[in-house]
Symmetry: C2
Amino acid sequence: MADYRVPRADMQFLLNDVFNVGADWQQMPALADMMDMDTATAIIDEAAKLAETLVAPNSRAADEQGVTFKDGVVTTPAGYKENYQQLAEGGWVGVTANPDFGGMGLPKSLSVHYEEMLCAADIAFSLYPGLTSGAIMTLDLHGSDELKNTYLPKLASGEWTGTMCLTESHAGTDLGIIRSKAEPDSDGSFHIHGTKIFITGGEHDLVDNIVHLVLAKLPDAPAGSKGISLFLVPKFLVNEDGSLGERNAVSCGSIEHKMGIHASATCVLNFDGAKGWLIGDPHRGLPAMFTMMNYERLGVGIQGLGGAARSYQNALEYAQDRIQGRGAKATQNHKKEADSLMVHGDVRRMLLTMKAFVEGGRAFSTYVGQQLDRAKFGDNVEQSQRADALVALLTPVAKAFLTDTGLEATILGQQVFGGHGYVREWGQEQLVRDVRIAQIYEGTNGIQALDLLGRKVVGSQGSNLTPLLEDIRAFCNDSDTTGWKVEVAALLKHTDRLEGATRELIEKARGDENLVNSVAVEYLHLVGYICFAYMWLRMALVAAPQVGEKPHLRSKIKTAKFYFERILPRVEGLLPAIQNGSKALFEHEEDEF
Amino acid sequence: MADYRVPRADMQFLLNDVFNVGADWQQMPALADMMDMDTATAIIDEAAKLAETLVAPNSRAADEQGVTFKDGVVTTPAGYKENYQQLAEGGWVGVTANPDFGGMGLPKSLSVHYEEMLCAADIAFSLYPGLTSGAIMTLDLHGSDELKNTYLPKLASGEWTGTMCLTESHAGTDLGIIRSKAEPDSDGSFHIHGTKIFITGGEHDLVDNIVHLVLAKLPDAPAGSKGISLFLVPKFLVNEDGSLGERNAVSCGSIEHKMGIHASATCVLNFDGAKGWLIGDPHRGLPAMFTMMNYERLGVGIQGLGGAARSYQNALEYAQDRIQGRGAKATQNHKKEADSLMVHGDVRRMLLTMKAFVEGGRAFSTYVGQQLDRAKFGDNVEQSQRADALVALLTPVAKAFLTDTGLEATILGQQVFGGHGYVREWGQEQLVRDVRIAQIYEGTNGIQALDLLGRKVVGSQGSNLTPLLEDIRAFCNDSDTTGWKVEVAALLKHTDRLEGATRELIEKARGDENLVNSVAVEYLHLVGYICFAYMWLRMALVAAPQVGEKPHLRSKIKTAKFYFERILPRVEGLLPAIQNGSKALFEHEEDEF
């Protein structure tokens, strides 16, 4: 596989020029003294070094070796433990964690770039710190002081890792029917009984202790999703002085053999009366866990983005080096027996589609990160609430659209390689296998679409969509759009059509309970393509006046044109499918499938 | 993985009711005495038994075990040799081979269904007889009587297998730059020198001898693709009495480790002065090889179809069994803690998309098979020529569109399984990995699109497209379309738009050499979606009058509606992308990527 190079210039361009996050940070009490663009640049450079020299070079070997399981012990691939410890020592596990417990407390608009680097370097590896970050956030927001003091410093320092234990073999999407039980003990703790499956990082050899966040039902729990509580269950119990005590009654029964992320341990965990402590209120575990889920969902979207970014880099390098055939217009390189793949229109189409998805996706993750920061750190209540609404709307889009375009980009990258993309040697097929899971876990992309259209949009009678529509229209109307009239008109037209389609759906959904789930995926894609168009226009309008001789800025302008000419037309196919509604889906009887 | 069940009823429906191939066969001298629908039914039943009970049950274990390579020897997974020999003994390797040499001589309209079964059962396994079929056809059409008499009976009986040796490490799509050489020997044979890569079935333990068809250059060869000759190179030389002689100087250097088709041996073959014989005329190897390539291309398309068909069956069974969540409209099954996945609109969307692709694709492969039969066996010159033109036009569509929709269908099937689709246990992820190669080999799908738009359509100034347009219009105008006015109007509208877009492309291509390769993939998809719409309308109009109580026919009508409402709108996104042409692809300088 080609060496991974962090796209520093693009990240700087987004942070500085497009989103000017530095100005935001200066307005935020928690960040004003700590963060400025120089600090951000230093952080990006340091993180890039880790991703490029430590994590990425080990990715393919780790995939080949995979995780092994023997007698309850899970062994990660060679190099993983050392790399994880270097990451931890640099403070990179607790990048977004609360500084009160030793975290870096970085803004999300910055940390999304660190996350992208880690995913581009090695998605499987990125999951160990990724899940830990989610656990930190949940515990920080919902845990008692005692739990926080005992566990957060060790998690934020990377000395211990975290998991989220939700799924059971019969209960994945539908958590309301989980069977794991929590029996109260006289000392205020609980005994957890049950079996969880698909637990990422459920058991491994990277660190000394693993802190499981586990969903289970109390004896008096109401039925369904309103009867689920959240517990903290450590692999090793922790003594009063912070040292590790005896092994808790949680064990790894087996690991899954999967299509990809071979180096990530996906475990069956058996809780045989394991000692645990309640996090938050009884029966309120699902909302607490959703803190983590929402955080993870943007992170999972970034897995798609990272995989796509790596795919693009690899495929570009291959296309430039590989000579095959001649240009349709004229021979380009008379000295060689063939021209490079770059002369072929279809190869350029594949490369530019990837580029449009990667850079559009990177901008989108920065945009969502900026809204998360405003919601979390802002001191202007109205702006924070508005940002919070945008985050709620855009989180399912980020998760699903970044992974759907991520899969398309890794498949396109593989296609550029031809047969060489199908053999393992080049590492390109690994990206497809590794990205594929991101469309499935943390709520399948179908569930994300249902969350977007059902809960967020129809559930709010469309009002949650308003801030996005306003943002796009304000940008189009308030910017100097000289030279971009066609694109601005297209974006405004599609924004109007999105609004119209939404209004129609809200109306029709009143009389058709099946409507939302029948068109949700197409609706999410419609929103996704429009958001990416908005991102591309933002980038283009910033690049245009300062374009001069900088290839990176010239490229922005040309790729924006490409996006509007070749990718955005896809919405034309989505709109009629959405308008056709649920009917064609519910006519088939069971025996007619 | 769920047991594989051959969709016999659908195959019968297509052969009998939709395409009435029996009437065709009665008009064809070579088939009239041999083939009727009873015979066809018996053949389908017999083949189904093999696919269901012999091949399919071994597929997952074979994938896990894979092919091994040691000291030049390639070992296939357990059961492969026995299964291959049973196949050979039943005459199933030579299904379409010339009866003069022991083949069954089956019409293609029938054998496509046998091929689909084999691919649905195990794509990797299907490649061994598949490549042999292609080799048989090439040798039969281009070989000398001596070569044919020596090799064809053994190939048609399945005692030996065949390969096609084209690719070299620096030359895949661009065969004009291959370096393999052929030196003439005084006895009329040649010594072949060179290294070939990606050779499917290049070495294995299934049979005693392997017959390689090899592209190489004669000493006086003109440069480029007009200087390539085709040679037959057996693994073991054949004595005059037909027994095996000494080992030829061809050996397997290594095998590839791949994303999928793990049980198919993909070999590096070293030719170190191996003895070979010229097939056909000197320097005319590429056209001769294209006989095989074209035959294989439909076959590769059917790999996509077979994988999709299996994916649909598995996912449907899973969706019916798995209970998760409740229906949006009302609880369906009060006795259980959740309803089956079938209540959810998005699951139904995924299942019906698969179903529409699978049954549309099956109809399309039958349609192309029928044209191949008319071209090969017909005694009406005009009809044969027309069929030949349709085959030329539709072969790249069949290869690329059946594999592109095949990948989409396997990915959707995996998505229905959720996390269980990502673990290897259920066999669903194997389908994705196995189908993926079919978009790459035998000419990447980008090359197929270039063949379609460049060579076939623009190359003929559009006249090669005419028979398809005529077929669709005649069908729409001559059929009783009561109840299908909307769909007929949509199909005719899109057919007009295809014709218009084609005229525009031919015009613009005169001044823009890069145009064809810039929009070819979208153009191929446009043709593909329209062809599938045509297939769905043909099926619907046959099913409608006889629908009664038969679920299979009711399903046809409902799935046709689904296709027109939810899938066909995709053409709305393709047309503007095509109209936007090449410009956005050729603006980027190398340093702007």
